[in-house]
């Protein structure tokens, strides 16, 4: 081949893009090299996270949002859109069924859209370990908006908040009461809350509970930031949709644009970029140090210490100290 994978991706070759995504997902040396080559071309895309409990309609909503972005009102240019859809891996076999495409059939045959399904491969935060890297590849390849659909998430899968510029949390009627709405976790990371399946019974109750939660949160948003300045915060928008019928979808697209304008005019965009890159650096550092540590400790020592723990002769903290002392020498 006369061109490297990264060069072919930059030239818009879709097969090369697909193959590079596989390399990156598997952490191959080719994948890492291409990531290094592509990194200077990243940082332009608007990253939009879509999260929420299983079955709330995340994939259907993404389908409609992307379709709307590809068919904008007259006079507007359609964006190039990529979708990274994460589904869980089986903890037993390591296999996975990735079914998000089933709901995205309206996007088939559109050369301005690229959908990639990916398995979580044991990661717990709602994304896969490689998701940030897959997003980087799409960003470098010139996709202007990248949707990241998380694993059906419960209360603690908030990794997406560190990756995306704009987080959409999808809710559906009947999932919980006011107490669920004020618990910590997934709702707190929302920039836009979409109440999907809004034609279902109890939709009004759900909206009321979510609104109450938002009103309570507004005060916190306007509190001073670390440097003491009073910042005008973003109050999360609450919108109702019926994704299967496309109702309310234009409004969500508008909200995404509004949020982007807010991020860019408030300086929040740069701040989130920094947070994201720092998180990525720390994740990589952690993985690399762990690997180095494991290589530095003889397997037998490790086994013996573990055995001592099983026999309750060492506590986990004591074991830790012994292991770390061993590495220093």
């Amino acid at each position: 081949m006369s061109f490297s994978l990264a060069e072919s991706v930059l030239q818009g070759n879709r097969l090369a893009l697909a193959r590079l995504l596989t390399h990156v997902e598997n952490g191959t040396p080719e994948g890492l090299e291409a990531l290094n080559q592509l990194f200077p071309f990243t940082g332009k895309a608007h990253l939009i996270g879509v999260t929420g409990a299983p079955g709330t309609g995340k994939s259907s909503l993404v389908n409609q949002l992307v379709y709307a972005l590809r068919h904008p009102e007259e006079g507007q240019k359609p964006s190039q859109v990529a979708v990274v859809a994460v589904d869980p891996s089986s903890p037993f076999s390591g296999g996975a069924i990735l079914g998000d495409r089933v709901r995205m059939r309206d996007l088939a045959g559109d050369a301005g859209v690229f959908i990639r399904s990916t398995a979580s491969r044991g990661a717990l935060g709602g994304l896969a370990a490689s998701t940030a890297n897959l997003v980087q590849v799409f960003d470098a390849a010139g996709f202007e908006m990248i949707f990241i659909e998380t694993v059906g998430a419960g209360q603690a899968e908030v990794e997406i908040a560190r990756l995306a510029h704009t987080v959409i949390v999808v809710e559906a009627p009947g999932l919980g009461d006011e107490i669920q709405a004020i618990k910590a976790g997934i709702l707190e990371i929302a920039d836009i809350i979409v109440l999907n399946k809004a034609d279902r019974p109890l939709a009004d109750n759900a909206e009321r509970a979510l609104r109450m939660m938002l009103e309570m949160a507004v005060n916190r948003e306007k509190s001073p930031s670390e440097d003491g300045k009073l910042i005008q915060g973003w109050t999360p928008l609450l919108l109702r949709t019926i994704a299967t019928e496309g109702k309310g979808v234009r409004e969500v697209c508008q909200a995404i644009q509004e949020h982007r304008c807010y991020l860019q005019s408030s300086g929040e965009w740069e701040r989130r970029e920094q947070v994201r890159l720092q998180a990525e650096l720390e994740n990589r550092l952690q993985a690399a140090l762990m690997k180095r540590l494991k290589e530095a400790i003889p397997a037998e020592t490790y086994r013996n210490i573990l055995n001592e723990m099983v026999l309750r002769r060492l506590s986990p903290y004591q074991a830790l100290e012994i292991l770390l002392d061993g590495v220093k020498q």
Partner: protein, 139 residues
């Protein structure tokens, strides 16, 4: 590093609306440690090929019960080749008359599996086709 997962696209081209067989196979491949992309009903050959490209799969499984296999399969194979995915293995399941099986195999189909096929057979054939016979067999 973790070993490359086998990625399989399970698609239902054509107009029949019965996908139980496709789901059983998808589940069995999942349990064998593969990553299975499931696309749902009523896919055109173009949609199947495009999904195979975006997902960079090793294997495509087509479930066809409508009798249109001799029309659909060659179009999908042609598309895959045209887009540079000649190495992707394709298998067919569903209701395929015996006399059509050799013709499908001649076109380059990896295997044809009718009702009553053991899913273990499909798994074994996939592992052989992608050159992973000795791996993946641990539970």
């Amino acid at each position: 590093m973790s070993q490359r997962k086998i990625r399989v696209l399970i698609a239902k081209p054509g107009l029949d609306g019965h996908d139980r067989g496709a789901k059983v196979v998808a589940r069995a491949l999942r349990d064998a440690g593969m990553e299975v992309i499931y696309t749902g009903l009523r896919q055109t050959p173009e949609m199947v090929a495009e999904a195979a490209l975006q997902e960079d799969v090793d294997v495509v499984g087509l479930s066809i019960l409508s009798g249109a296999h001799m029309a659909l399969v060659p179009r999908i194979l042609d598309r895959l080749r045209a887009q540079g995915q000649e190495n992707v293995k394709v298998f067919v399941g569903g209701i395929i008359p015996d006399e059509d099986i050799p013709r499908l195999l001649e076109m380059g189909v990896m295997g044809v599996y009718g009702p009553g096929t053991l899913t273990e057979q499909i798994i074994k054939d996939i592992l052989a086709a992608v050159g992973r016979v000795d791996q993946h067999l641990q539970p």
